[in-house]
């Protein structure tokens, strides 16, 4: 079954849906070659920042929230308060990080365009997916090889 609307045997000259060129409000004044290179480097820095922030979302932020919740639990003696603090902290930090990531992604698109690339979409989805795989793999390695599940099959390094 044909699903491509532009696959019409050459009868019509059209473009694949969703591939329209970017419409600018005015013709952009592009910078010099040096500036484009600088913008290319800046785009790389922004991408690295997005990767780092995304990695934070998959490990350090949840761990930090759990650590804070544990401290609250210890100081207040209330488990419920600890759980509540953990949820609120996770909510605020994760959604804050996502908002920052989205802004970084938009900035990355603009900087890529300024560097001379026909950048139409962002990279946030791919960054999130890649960091998820990386963090998931790291967790599996840590869980299985370093800490261990604590079962009889895989006893780990418990004394």
């Amino acid at each position: 079954m044909r699903t491509d609307p532009s696959d019409n045997g050459g009868l019509f000259v059209g473009r694949r849906p969703g591939t329209a060129p970017v419409h600018f409000r005015g013709l952009p004044q592009r910078g010099s070659e040096l500036r484009r290179r600088v913008d290319g480097s800046l785009a790389g820095i922004l991408l690295a920042g997005m990767v780092m922030l995304s990695l934070l979302c998959w490990g350090p932020i949840p761990i930090a929230c759990l650590w804070i919740a544990a401290q609250v639990n210890y100081l207040s003696g209330s488990v419920s308060l600890g759980i509540f603090v953990a949820f609120v902290g996770l909510f605020v930090l994760l959604f804050g990080a996502l908002a920052i990531l989205r802004r970084l992604d938009q900035a990355w698109i603009l900087v890529r365009r300024a560097a001379g690339h026909d950048q139409r979409t962002g990279v946030l989805g791919r960054v999130f997916a890649v960091t998820a795989v990386i963090c998931g793999g790291a967790f599996v390695l840590w869980f299985v090889l370093i800490h261990g599940p604590g079962s009889n099959v895989m006893p780990g390094n418990k004394p």
Partner: protein, 366 residues
């Protein structure tokens, strides 16, 4: 440009913004198209509408049947149809490539070098030209039948050319006046009566001059399919002479006849479009009255037209200036300078919308 502004210029527009921009552009295009006023060309005497589809169909049929033969010189269906419609002997009817060619041929056949061709003036600009082409002398005679009769008594006068209705004045030569002219002319003077516009006249029967042609062998009536029939591009006209004019008529007809394609179109028009022409004539008659009255109310001198145009002059504005002012208002009229009377303009008639636009433009221009 600040650093942030530099990067913000690379922000793309959202789909909603693009669509909103496209909608605004479409609205603006539509507004401009509605505001654009087409130029109204009232400078021509030909009919402005396209020919009826049945005429185009008849022409196409003949063209597809083959055009490798020469057309019929005599005895064509169009020729026979015209003779029957006008109730004259077919030998007294000839076809030509438009009335102008028949008039020129008649002038060449009748005028010896140096002889005179009289024409009332202002009149059809071809008359003096065809006298010169026949190596004759063109004499422009302002005034009516009396002036023509007086001038015709001068030696060397051979032909009187009259357009009725007259182009550019639109005036119709009454049958009684024509009869008086024919009766008063010397025996060797022939009358070429150009009735290309006669279908538009309603002051007397359209065929009244043909009845005179049956009695006066030196009267040649020339008619055309170019005006009321709206077939100027086909170049078909015909001439009807009096009894005894057959030999001369045979000289006038084109050497290799009239195109079969043109004949087919004219014949189809005769057979199927008579009612359409009658409606056109009635509409022109209404507009003629309305425009004439409107012009006179605005101080114009307007000749009593029986054609599809009016000949008008303003007491304070030259014809060239008036036509220039109307042109600035998007209305083209024929200036009188090229037609023999610089004070006048010739204004073609169309429909009530065109008449209203003309009178409005005059109100603003005067």
């Amino acid at each position: 440009m600040s650093l942030l502004d530099y990067y913000r210029q690379f922000e793309g527009m959202s789909e909603e913004e693009v669509n909103a921009g496209l909608r605004e552009e479409a609205i603006e295009r539509k507004r401009k198209a509605l505001m654009r006023v087409q130029t109204l060309d009232l400078s021509q005497t030909t009919w402005p509408e396209l020919p009826h589809p049945s005429i185009v169909g008849a022409i196409t049929f003949v063209a597809r049947r083959g055009m490798q033969r020469y057309p019929h010189l005599r005895g064509s269906q169009l020729h026979d149809e015209l003779a029957e419609r006008h109730g004259v002997d077919p030998a007294r009817v000839i076809l030509g490539n438009g009335a102008a060619e028949l008039l020129s041929s008649a002038a060449r056949a009748l005028i010896e070098p140096g002889q005179r061709l009289l024409s009332a003036w202002p009149s059809y600009p071809l008359f003096p030209i065809m006298a010169r082409r026949a190596h004759g002398q063109a004499v422009r005679v302002p005034g009516g039948v009396d002036a023509l009769l007086e001038e015709a008594r001068e030696p060397g006068t051979r032909v009187i050319a009259i357009a009725s209705p007259n182009d550019p004045t639109g005036e119709l030569l009454a049958t009684g006046e024509l009869e008086r002219l024919l009766a008063g002319l010397p025996d060797d003077v022939a009358v070429l009566l150009d009735e290309s516009l006669v279908e538009f006249a309603d002051a007397q029967p359209v065929n009244s001059s043909l009845e005179l042609a049956s009695e006066h062998s030196r009267l040649f009536v020339v008619r055309s399919f170019s005006k009321a029939w709206g077939l100027a591009g086909l170049r078909v006209g015909y001439a009807i002479g009096g009894p005894g004019s057959e030999e001369l008529l045979a000289e006038l007809q084109p050497d290799l006849g009239v195109s079969e394609v043109s004949q087919a179109g004219a014949l189809e028009a005769l057979r199927t479009c008579s009612e359409i022409v009658a409606r056109r004539v009635a509409a022109i008659s209404r507009e003629r009255t309305a425009v004439t009255d409107g012009l006179r109310e605005r101080g114009f001198e307007v000749a009593d037209s029986q054609a599809n145009f009016v000949w008008a002059a303003h007491p304070a504005i030259d014809g060239g200036e008036l036509s220039a002012r109307l042109a600035r208002a998007g209305i083209l009229v024929a200036g009188g300078a090229a037609l023999g009377e610089p004070r006048h303009v010739r204004i073609g008639l169309r429909d009530s919308t065109a008449s209203g636009r003309l009178l409005d433009a005059l109100d603003k221009s005067l």
